[in-house]
């Protein structure tokens, strides 16, 4: 019984962290920070899926979703930051 409660507690912690990361990623206005949080979210999601006995999908999510998706977004965030910098320089 205690084991079951502990397991439930473990699940709850996993999910609360997951939702927290998602919320943080969604609410962050700063692009690079948002992407970093999204990558963290993706990696955590992979962890959760591993917990649900889905190692194949967890691997794919970590490598493709969080990894490559994150890399693409980081590049975009870099472009956005540069564009903002240029704007800032244009109008001092």
């Amino acid at each position: 019984m205690t084991q079951l409660v502990l397991l439930l507690l473990f699940d709850a912690v996993l999910l609360i962290t997951l939702l927290g990361l998602a919320l943080a990623a969604v609410l962050s206005p700063e692009p690079r920070r948002a992407v970093m949080l999204f990558i963290a979210f993706g990696l955590w999601l992979a962890l959760v899926w591993a917990r649900l006995h889905a190692p194949d999908v967890a691997l794919a999510e970590a490598a493709i979703g969080a990894g490559l998706g994150g890399a693409l977004m980081l590049a975009a965030a870099r472009r956005a930051a540069r564009a903002r910098r240029q704007d800032a320089e244009a109008e001092p």
Partner: protein, 248 residues
Amino acid sequence: MTDPTFATRPDPARAAERDRDLKLLLAVLLALLGVTMTAIYALALNAGAAPRLADLALARVPQTGVDNPVTAVLLNYRAYDTLMELAVLLAALLGIWSLGPAPAGFQRSGPVLAGMVSWVVPLLIVAGGYMLWVGGYAPGGAFQAGALLGAAGVIVRLAGDPQAGLPGEAAQRWLLVLGVLVFTLVGLGLMLFGAGFLTYPPKLAKWLILLIESAATLAIGVALAAAYVGGRPTATSPLDPRPSAQPK
């Protein structure tokens, strides 16, 4: 991206206020939707057809030519989905290429990363090969392996090669279509021999799947790396002999 619902309005202070109210209202509505859907989902779980496809899918695994049930679904039961998914990846990349050469502003990274490349990239490639092979009976498979190849490309590009170590355009094009091409030709070949489209004879299944997966791994790796490059290949040596994902 201007959404008509959120177009600019005259008075900024009041507009901001109304904007906030709207966002809040939307949040409340969506939260209600989430709760409703959870209740319905609970109903579906409770009253639903419990084992679903699990037992059947697991029971047929021995006849699929692979031992990993997920690979069995991906490349045998639902191979057609996977074929089309590779086509989706191809379409996205062709879309990226149609928009022009890679955007400017590429930055060479520091020496630390460049030093890392020499050992990380070969490691990734080996890991990819292993992942491909292991997918037959353990977690892994073409997608994960392809992702590792793609990651190697990303690192090569970060380390300074704007083309991410990819070969010339002509070779890149062939590599890109390789996955779908081998997949389709295998499917059609089987149809020609009377087995039906993508219906593997149990004896050959293992090897056909491995063939398809190998081609798919290469194609996925090249597509992901090319997507990271973000545009048409600029160096147009038609038949560049370099193998994929090799640092300069």
